[in-house]
Symmetry: C2
Subunit: 104 residues, 2 copies
Amino acid sequence: MDADKIFKALGDPTRRKLLDLLYARNGQTLGELCDHLDMARQSVTQHIGLLEAANLVSTVWRGREKLHFINPVPLHEVYERWVRKFERQRLSLLHDLKKELEGE
Amino acid sequence: MDADKIFKALGDPTRRKLLDLLYARNGQTLGELCDHLDMARQSVTQHIGLLEAANLVSTVWRGREKLHFINPVPLHEVYERWVRKFERQRLSLLHDLKKELEGE
DNA sequence: TTGACATGCAGGCATTTACCTGCATATAAT
DNA sequence: ATTATATGCAGGTAAATGCCTGCATGTCAA
């Protein structure tokens, strides 16, 4: 997994909205996705390009139409590497802070 | 939670390394963190500023030293909103793709 | 076969980002 | 008191980013 591409792809509201749009209905065409976004088609294409590069979206051509599908695998990998790892610290944080404030 | 700040904060290798450094030993000072990074102190300060803005790192002053602590809460919120939501689609993706390739 | 439709490609511009250097401030140590 | 240490603040630059417009290509439909 390429954490850099994944997080950068997710670090933009338009691209997160694209994921939500595909979550609502998977397999939409570029044009359909554009209908929900207030920007030029080419800008949407660029955003989708980053989502594809991060492997968050896969596409299939059907005639002249390009269909878009969510790929949730990278999200899960992000979870394994960047969320789960840090979860065990959740409860200890306050404790650490207090210790430090008391001069340890 | 501010997804934008969180993902943008995570979308940089230096900042992810900072989180890993703090995971290895929580409560490090700025100087200690700088020792592991090959860039000017001020650059590290800026990176930490973004991590703080995303609430991924909390700091405490002890005299002239600034101590840094991971806050894993935003990561968990990211998981709830951006990973868990999409997990149920994991198995259905291939099915969707095949359906589309067959002309639905 | 001609026109309409869905998309790609190339390039241009303004903003943001990631880095730097130089100087200032506050705390600790001698 | 004076010096050393830890950090902040201000500003400058090059590269990356996000948006656009104009034109090209390939597919469907009349």
